[in-house]
Structure formats: structure tokens, C-alpha cells
């Protein structure tokens, strides 16, 4: 019998980043470390503010908000490779 339940702390096991279809990539040459993307990211996985973003792809869901908000167009969304 399978009972769907989870105990506290399971978010460390469940990598919600798996479902993204596109991953944000930062161009360090264009990045001004303004921290706008880091403030807007709903998952809080864009790294330390005022530093060039280091993205935790295990939990990035690929929502593109950082790409849309970046005033310097330093972030592009790159398609993930998927098995068909």
C-alpha cells in the first residue's frame, strides 16, 4: 500500500528544478551586479546580491522572471535538452 505523505525536510530530496524547459544563463560581461534579478527571483536561488548570479539549477523552475526583469539583457533562456 502506498500512502502519499512527506516528512519535514523533503524539499532537499525533491529537486523541483527538474520540470523547467528553459534555464537562465547569465552573461558576466553584461551583468552590472545590480541585484534586480536576485530580488525578483520567486525561488531565491540567484546567489548573493551584488555579486554575479550563481544559479542553483536544482531548484530553478525556469520561470524567466530574471530574464524579463534584467535591464541590461544579461540573462538569456536556453532550452533544456529533453529525451523524447
Amino acid at each position: 500500500m502506498l500512502i502519499p505523505l512527506s516528512k519535514p525536510g523533503t524539499t532537499t530530496d525533491i529537486k523541483t528544478g527538474k520540470w523547467k524547459t528553459h534555464r537562465p544563463t547569465v552573461d558576466p560581461k553584461l551583468c552590472t551586479k545590480c541585484a534586480i534579478c536576485q530580488n525578483f527571483c520567486p525561488e531565491g536561488i540567484m546567489g548573493t546580491p551584488r555579486e554575479i548570479p550563481v544559479i542553483d539549477y536544482d531548484y530553478c523552475k525556469g520561470c524567466s522572471m530574471c530574464m524579463v526583469e534584467c535591464p541590461f539583457k544579461a540573462i538569456t533562456m536556453v532550452a533544456e535538452k529533453q529525451e523524447l
Binding site: M1, I3, P4, L5, S6, K7, P8, I14, W19
Partner: protein
């Protein structure tokens, strides 16, 4: 104790004697007085709780909370109330919570009707609940006690389906076991996991594509396996109370050429028709499908092979063949049986003894039939405006 009482009151008393800890309800015809009685028991200090909720959706949701905390639970509903529970029915079976509910079968709106057919519960057959049907109030009361046994053993919720008005509002003698007598059959509920602040966990959580299907596969196979537990419950019940039950009830089926098959109270009339026709030497029989989910496919195949089977459906699947008929046709695939479909007796119309006899007569000609039943109504009864 044998009491002369109406079905709803008998069911409420039976439920009380099973000692549920969490009871929630929102009254709806025809099970209003089940809920009313449960409320009264609580007010009189005879039960531990009654949560007066604002809808049937909330009633079943409250029971999910109760069952998740490890309590034995109870509610009653029917018709629109059961339809409003639809989403929560899936949640409760998916979370494997052994909730028990009485459904007073009633037709569904529109047009509005408070009378009996089985559209409401038959439409919920895919929700992962076990469904037991009763022909009379004794069977209904007995099924309710067995429902707790089955649910708490299989961790699958059970609905006990009782024809509204025909049973819920009919007064007859019912032997209602006391709390102590029930304890001889029903062991205390031992939950597998419970909500506990000291050991926190979430139930019914998110399952990504990598996990979801396994849960559904597991529920499906456990429902199929639950048939053995239901049979066992029926036998054990007989050992304690002298009334045994199986997945189906056969009545003169063994040597019968024509057999009418159906759910619920209508089968009492069919049985009476069988009695009358047997007196004239006609080899006919009746079969009550007591358990619709899990569907007793193998039993039906074994019992009905080679016979002319007439399936009575008091619920429709508009635009397709009636539900019970389709499932019986599938069960009898590859056998030499002929299967006829009789559908109707909706919204309070009665399949009478006389008409049941006519169905047997028509079937005896051997051809498979597909036709409506109970279509002739006396003129002054039918005040339907057509445009």
C-alpha cells in the same frame, strides 16, 4: 435489538453503535434524518462529536482531517450533496483514509427531483471508493457495520448506498446490534499513520510525474484485492450475527435460464416476481450486485455464464450504454450468455413486480433486448409540459 423503524433512523443508530469519533454532516433529502439523529446523539452526550458544516464538501473534508488524525469517522449524504463531494471523494481514497459514508440514493438535478434512482452513486464509481448496495434496511444496517471492518482493513473508504425513500423512509423491522455486540465483530481502528504535532508530516502531498502513476496503480490493485476482504467481512458477520453476505446475492440463479441483475431495492420486487414465476414452473432467477466497486467480475462470469442476463440500470451514461450493462457485457465476454439491457425506473419510478414478470417473459424469447422500463405512467400523474 429488533426495532420497527425507518431506514434512516436505523442507519443513524447503527452508525452510533459503531462509535465513530468524528461525525460531520450537512443534511440533504433523503438522509436528512441520519444527520439529524447524529446531531441529536451528540447533543444527548451519546457520541463524541458532531461538526455542523456549511456544505457536503466541508463535511467530507472534516472527515479527512478526522481520519488523518486517527479517528473513526461517519457522514451521510446523497444526490447533489454527493456530487458536491466529488473532488473530496478522490482525495480521501487517494490518501487511503478509511472513511465510511451512507449515501441515500437520489436522482440528480436538473430537473430537480428528490426521489430515488442510483445516478448519484453510480456516477461516483471511479472515485476509488468501495461501494456496497442494500436491498432492504436490514442489509443496509449490516453493510454499515461491515463497511467499517472493510475500510479499516483495506484503508479504502466505503460508501453504503441505500435507496432514498424506498429504504430511508420505509419503516420495517431492523435488528440493530448494540455497541457490545458490534465489538465482537469490529476490532478497534488502528490507523497506519496519523497527524501528530510531535512527529510532523504532510498527507496527500505533491507527486511529480516520476511518482504519481505508482500511487494510482497501487490504489487500483488494492481495490481489486479488497474483494477478498469484503467476502471475508460478509462471512465473519454471519458467524457473529447469523446473517452472511457475499459480493453478490443469488436467488434461484443456478438452474435459471433468464436472470435479472441489478442494484438495490428494486431487486426485492424482482425477487418477488421470481417467486411468482417459479410457481408457474418458469426457470427464472435474480441476482443482486451487492458490491459495485470492486466490480465482482469473476463471480458474475462464473455465475451467469450461459444464461440470458437482463441488466437493470437505474442510472444512465447519456450517449452511451448504461454503466452496469457495459460492465456485465465485459465480464461475460467470450461466454455463451445473451445480455439484455433494461434501463429506467428513474426519479422515483418503481420497477413493479408485474413489469419484472413482463421482462422475464420478453427475455424468454431469447433475443437480446435494449429497452426503457417504467415508461408507462398514468396520464394524471404525468404533468410534463413539452415544447
Amino acid at each position: 435489538m429488533i426495532k420497527t423503524t425507518n431506514g434512516a433512523t436505523a442507519l443513524a443508530e447503527t452508525a452510533k453503535n459503531c462509535e465513530p469519533e468524528v461525525v460531520a454532516g450537512y443534511p440533504i433529502t433523503p438522509t436528512t434524518h441520519v444527520v439529524e439523529e447524529m446531531n441529536r446523539y451528540y447533543a444527548n452526550g451519546e457520541t463524541k462529536s458532531f461538526i455542523a458544516v456549511e456544505s457536503e464538501f466541508s463535511a467530507l473534508s472534516a472527515l479527512i482531517g478526522g481520519a488523518a488524525a486517527g479517528a473513526r469517522t461517519f457522514t451521510a449524504t446523497g444526490s447533489q450533496g454527493l456530487l458536491l463531494m466529488h473532488e473530496v471523494l478522490f482525495c480521501s481514497s487517494g490518501m487511503r483514509l478509511p472513511i465510511v459514508m451512507v449515501v441515500g440514493n437520489r436522482s440528480v438535478s436538473a430537473p430537480l427531483s428528490i426521489w430515488n434512482d442510483e445516478q448519484d452513486s453510480v456516477s461516483q464509481r471511479d472515485t476509488g471508493w468501495i461501494q456496497l448496495y442494500a436491498k432492504n434496511n436490514q442489509e443496509a444496517s449490516d453493510a454499515l457495520i461491515q463497511a467499517y471492518f472493510i475500510a479499516e482493513k483495506t484503508f479504502i473508504p466505503v460508501m453504503v448506498c441505500v435507496d432514498g425513500h424506498f429504504l430511508t423512509h420505509t419503516t420495517e423491522q431492523v435488528d440493530i446490534p448494540s455497541k457490545d455486540e458490534i465489538k465482537r465483530f469490529l476490532p478497534p481502528f488502528k490507523p497506519m499513520v496519523t497527524l501528530d504535532p510531535d512527529q510532523p508530516l504532510s498527507m496527500g502531498v505533491y507527486a511529480a510525474p516520476a511518482y504519481y502513476q505508482e500511487f494510482r496503480m497501487d490504489l487500483h490493485s488494492d481495490l481489486e484485492k479488497s474483494a477478498a476482504v469484503i467476502s471475508d467481512a460478509g462471512k465473519r458477520f454471519g458467524q457473529v450475527f447469523g446473517r452472511s453476505y457475499g459480493l453478490v446475492e443469488e436467488y434461484h440463479v443456478k438452474d435459471a435460464k433468464e436472470v435479472l441483475v441489478g442494484l438495490g431495492s428494486a431487486m426485492e420486487n424482482v425477487k418477488a416476481a421470481v417467486d411468482e414465476m417459479r410457481k408457474q414452473g418458469k426457470k427464472v432467477g435474480a441476482l443482486h450486485v451487492r458490491v459495485l466497486r470492486p466490480f465482482p467480475r469473476e463471480e458474475l462470469r462464473r455465475i451467469l455464464s450461459g444464461k440470458h442476463v437482463g441488466v437493470i440500470d437505474r442510472a444512465l451514461s447519456p450517449g452511451a450504454q448504461p454503466p452496469l450493462f457495459t460492465e456485465i457485457v465485459e465480464a461475460l465476454q467470450g461466454t455463451s450468455s445473451t445480455v439484455s439491457s433494461f434501463f429506467g425506473a428513474l426519479g422515483g419510478r418503481t420497477l413493479k413486480i408485474q413489469e419484472s414478470k413482463q421482462l422475464f417473459e420478453k427475455m424468454s424469447k431469447g433475443k437480446a433486448l435494449k429497452e426503457w422500463i417504467t415508461v408507462t405512467v398514468e396520464k394524471n400523474e404525468a404533468e410534463i409540459e413539452t415544447c
